[in-house]
């Protein structure tokens, strides 16, 4: 058989693996394979007897045998190791946990316990999903031989049959709830729409029949994990169709589950539960990796990482990087510890003071500047990890205390004898992304596909650094994180010096980017890039040349980090950190700023930009008029805010809390990290409930608070024009038709 593995998962009933293969002729085959996973347990020699006893006392054990030669990430051989096989797949974690608890979570060291079974199986069989593969059954087990090189970038992906799925609930309130009956289900196959309507039971069974008939490989939904799938399966339960209704290629039991809220980079993030289908993929278009790379990017990453796409689509970028590192570890037969990451080494508070810092920042000068170039290091932090061998087991390793490479500024030593797991895993990602970018530059193949593929890889690289400092990271360690930042600071300093030596003035620097202004007879930028690359060992390139760029101030008036807009030489406007870039901003405000920047982008010099500023006020007045006359579509007035806590934890009756209360009345509970959408209806009202209205109920809204939105318009104008001397008061005056000149215009002409 030749084809592509489209999914693999454990069959807990039969304790074997299920593999779905899409053949080259378009058939889909369900394969079964006997696979016996083991986990490992180790302890001090004197405790080995009690460990064996603990295991043998459990009915969950099938066998436990001594094993030699397994290594830890540090390279050291694990002593007194047992290979443990549980009675069944479902017993692995139970047995391991029982043993761990008996050893007070410390006496016994456990490995390879919670590694995803499908991933372990695929590594063991040296197989990858979405890679053209020959499958043979030999001696009762499946054998896989890849017919493509995973490094190949111009491969032909499998022809997957896709359908889109939408549902319409017979809503009793403003927002659809699980308790609302199903009114309609719509399947989209290419341009064709198949609608299932009628009694709820009929809709459900029609839908299941159509899916069975169309037999898609992919069912695409929007919010399928957070609402659509749990809704459908819940309604099937209510209609007494739990047994009959399923959308996979084989029946699956689905139950309504809650998602999870967690902290990430200081924000609360909500992760919905996962609703997998068996034999075909349910892909929810709102999931991060799918949003960033589409199906093309997902398939490419699946080949590369070895994770089946349905599971991969639900991973965060950080999880995906970890999975790649995990695959590398398993391929190298490294033991993967369970629940035990190394703790930070004791260090002096003086060392901590120097080590626990982030990247360098050269504060920007507020104002508008001409002829500016932006240089960016290519994947700086991942590049540092690869170039300088930064990995949890290489930083402060046990073998190179004297002669290891020293991390600048903090003095940690780094192993020079062995390549670390993290650089080994990251290097191919960087290489692959660069190759895609090169193909795009050359205009080879389908540029859109390449863009999608490199886009996903970019996110993996971005998160790979943060995961070094993430507390639950499997292959992270705070010292690695500190070492990367230390190298980053050093490299940016070297880059600054190199640029200044060649006659450039550094206007702004932020971690891995520099904004330079030519100073007199400065050298060519290409030469500057070459010098920096040779001084740092990390590629730096010209990201953009700006005809002009405006660095914006923070609230305190000093230059804000990563808050600017500028006109590139190719006519494109680059914007960072202003309202239009924020997901919470209503459409009307975002569109207004876009129009203002389009207007300014017609001007090629500082002088022309300044001359164009009165035109900005004309645009503002037009938008204000539309707002005041009630001509703005309610959809354009919606604020989308991520809630940071549960309803009861809000003390002040702010807009978010009011919206949460309205949703609760509709029977909708929102967890921290999820969004609420509302329109401001009367922000001055004494009745909290009248201040805002949830967006889902916008049809019930009589009107909106034009004054409030105009104030936001003024604020958005101030954001863009502050460097030209305009204050909020000046702009408010201008709105009323008084053409207030800014201080600059009085003074600077």
């Amino acid at each position: 058989m030749r084809g592509w593995i489209i999914d693999a998962y454990p069959d807990y009933g039969n304790n074997e693996m299920t593999v779905w293969l899409k053949t080259r002729r378009g058939k889909v085959l369900r394969l079964r394979d006997a696979y016996t996973p083991a986990f490992y347990a180790a302890t001090a020699r004197e405790n080995l007897g009690s460990l064996l006893q603990e295991l043998r006392n459990s009915s969950l054990l099938r066998e436990a045998l001594p094993e030699n030669g397994k290594r830890l990430l540090s390279g050291a051989q694990e002593e007194n190791l047992l290979r443990v096989v549980a009675r069944g797949y479902a017993d692995i974690e139970k047995l391991a946990y029982r043993v761990a608890v008996r050893g007070e979570l410390s006496r016994y060291r456990l490995y390879n316990v919670d590694v995803n079974l499908a991933q372990r199986y695929l590594v063991k069989r040296d197989a990858r999903p979405m890679l053209l593969t020959e499958v043979k059954r030999r001696a009762g087990r499946l054998e896989y031989s890849a017919l493509e090189d995973v490094e190949d970038l111009s491969y032909k992906p499998p022809g997957l049959r896709k359908v889109g799925l939408e549902v319409v609930a017979d809503k009793r309130g403003s927002v659809a709830r699980l308790s609302d009956p199903l009114k309609k289900a719509v399947l989209m196959v290419g341009d064709e729409r198949v609608e299932c309507e009628g009694r709820e039971e009929d809709v459900l069974m029609d839908l299941a029949d159509h899916i069975a008939r169309l037999d898609p490989d992919v069912v695409l939904t929007m919010r399928g994990d957070s609402f659509l799938m749990p809704y459908l399966y819940h309604r099937a339960g209510v209609s007494g169709l739990s047994e009959e209704f399923h959308l996979g290629r084989e029946p699956e039991k689905q139950r309504v589950r809650e998602g999870k809220s967690y902290h990430s980079y200081g924000r609360i993030v909500y992760r919905p539960p996962s609703y997998y289908l068996k034999g075909r993929m349910h892909l929810d278009g709102t999931r991060f990796l799918l949003r960033k790379g589409g199906i093309e990017g997902l398939i490419d990453l699946s080949r590369f990482s070895g994770i089946p796409p349905q599971r991969l689509a639900r991973m965060t970028a950080g999880n995906a990087v970890t999975a790649i590192q995990l695959r590398r570890a398993l391929e190298n037969d490294v033991l993967v510890p369970w629940k035990r990451q190394g703790c930070e080494y004791f260090k002096t508070a003086w060392s901590l003071l120097h080590a626990d810092r982030g990247g360098y920042i050269f504060e920007p000068r507020v104002g508008i500047f001409e002829d500016v170039a932006e240089l960016d290091f290519a994947s700086m932090y991942p590049g540092i990890m690869v170039r300088y061998n930064i990995s949890p087991e290489t930083v402060l390793c046990g073998c190179c205390r004297e002669d290891g490479e020293r991390v600048p500024g903090i003095g940690y030593h780094v192993c020079i004898k062995r390549r670390g797991l993290v650089p080994l895993a990251l290097r191919p990602i960087i290489k692959r992304r660069m190759a895609y970018k090169e193909l795009m530059r050359r205009g080879n193949g389908d540029g859109g596909d390449y863009e999608a593929r490199q886009g996903v890889l970019k996110w993996l690289l971005i998160t790979s650094f943060g995961y070094q400092g993430y507390r639950n990271s499997r292959f992270g360690r705070i010292e690695s994180h500190e070492a990367i930042c230390a190298y980053g600071r050093e490299l940016l300093l070297r880059a600054k010096e190199a640029a200044e030596e060649r006659g450039y003035e550094v206007l702004h620097g932020l971690v891995d980017s520099l904004w330079l202004r030519r100073d007199g007879d400065a050298g060519e930028l290409e030469e500057v890039c070459r010098r920096i690359t040779s001084k740092t060992g990390i590629d730096i390139s010209l990201e953009a040349r700006y005809r002009w760029i405006v660095f914006l101030p923070s609230k305190t008036g000093v230059g804000a980090l990563n808050r600017y807009y500028g006109l590139k030489e190719n006519g494109e406007v680059k914007v960072r950190g202003v309202e239009m870039r924020m997901s919470s901003t209503p459409g009307v405000i975002a569109r207004y700023q876009e129009e203002v920047l389009r207007e300014l982008a017609q001007r090629w010099s500082i002088r022309e930009v300044r001359a164009a500023l009165p035109g900005v006020f004309r645009i503002m007045r037009r938008y204000a008029r539309r707002l005041i006359e009630g001509r703005v579509d309610p959809g354009d007035l919606v604020f989308t805010v991520t809630v940071s806590r549960g309803f009861r934890e809000y003390r002040v009756n702010g807009f978010s809390k009011i919206a949460l209360r309205q949703l609760r009345r509709e029977g909708i509970g929102i967890l921290p990290g999820q969004g609420v959408r509302y329109i401001v209806t009367d922000h001055r009202s004494r009745r909290h409930d009248e201040k805002v209205r949830i967006a889902e109920a916008w049809r019930e809204i009589d009107g909106y608070d034009a004054e409030f939105y105009v104030t936001r318009l003024v604020k958005a104008t101030e954001t863009l024009l502050r460097p030209f001397g305009y204050t909020e008061e000046d702009i408010a005056m201008a709105l009323q038709g008084h053409e207030q000149r800014s201080i600059y215009q009085y003074v600077g002409g």
């Binding site: 608890v101 007070e104 979570l105 410390s106 629940k339 035990r340 990451q341 190394g342 703790c343 930070e344 080494y345 004791f346 260090k347 002096t348 508070a349 003086w350 901590l352 003071l353 507390r471 639950n472 705070i478």
Partner: protein, 226 residues
């Protein structure tokens, strides 16, 4: 202050309670960061006076070398000398914390430097975090307390700062501690310290009130007399 004790770094506290007794486990419970602040002052005082190191296990990522530097400078001490004698480790998960207290390496190895104090900052925050199964949390806490009690044979004081006055989960810390103090900020000028547990005295509860005319900062509080 008694000979068999190390200074808390706060004069009134030393006068009233005799500092932190060596070979004893102390617990400082407070709703604000005052317990942690006392440990900073104690570290500065003992390093300056005895020249011995102090260990911090920071379980809530709140340890601030900047604040210690500020305290050192306010006392006319060179901050580098003080900070170089403080050894800190930051477990970010309960499991990392448990590894730190294993028989070999971690805390045990660092104790060879004969520190004056082993200070733990807010361990329950880590142990009872939402990522940790309840059963795991109980095991980790039990084991850690057993190890800490075992460290009483060492010639140093062990002090735990705990943030939050809610009794949930606190019972085991209270039971394990030899001395437990509850510190409460009462308005702007008063700090109330209640000695909740004291094995060597006939009473189990005593109140200390502090009032200082112009005291508005922790810094001033530390200088005030009870």
């Amino acid at each position: 202050m008694e000979e068999d004790a190390v200074s808390s770094g706060v004069r009134f506290f030393d006068d009233a309670f005799g500092g932190f007794k060596k070979r004893r486990l102390h617990l400082l419970v407070s709703a604000t960061g005052i317990g942690e602040h006392i440990l900073y002052r104690s570290a500065v005082e003992n390093i300056a006076r005895l020249g011995v190191p102090v260990l911090f296990v920071d379980c809530a990522n709140t340890f601030s070398p900047y604040e210690i530097a500020r305290i050192s400078m306010s006392r006319g001490l060179e901050e580098r000398g003080i900070l170089s004698k403080i050894h800190v480790s930051r477990p970010f998960t309960a499991y990392q914390l448990s590894i730190l207290f294993e028989d070999h390496g971690g805390v045990e190895e660092t104790l060879e430097g004969k520190p004056a104090i082993l200070a733990l900052l807010h361990p329950l925050k880590l142990i009872y975090s939402e990522d940790v199964a309840r059963e795991d949390a109980e095991i980790i806490l039990r084991r850690m307390l057993r190890r800490l009690r075992g460290l009483r044979r060492r010639d140093m004081a062990v002090v735990i700062a705990h943030l939050g006055l809610r009794r949930r989960h606190l019972t085991q810390l209270m039971e394990a501690a030899d001395y437990a103090y509850v510190l409460q900020t009462m308005g702007r000028n008063r700090i109330k310290v209640r000695l909740e547990k004291d094995p060597g005295m006939s009473f189990t509860e005593r109140d200390f009130f502090l009032a200082h005319g112009s005291q508005t900062t922790l810094e001033r509080f530390a200088e005030a007399r009870g």
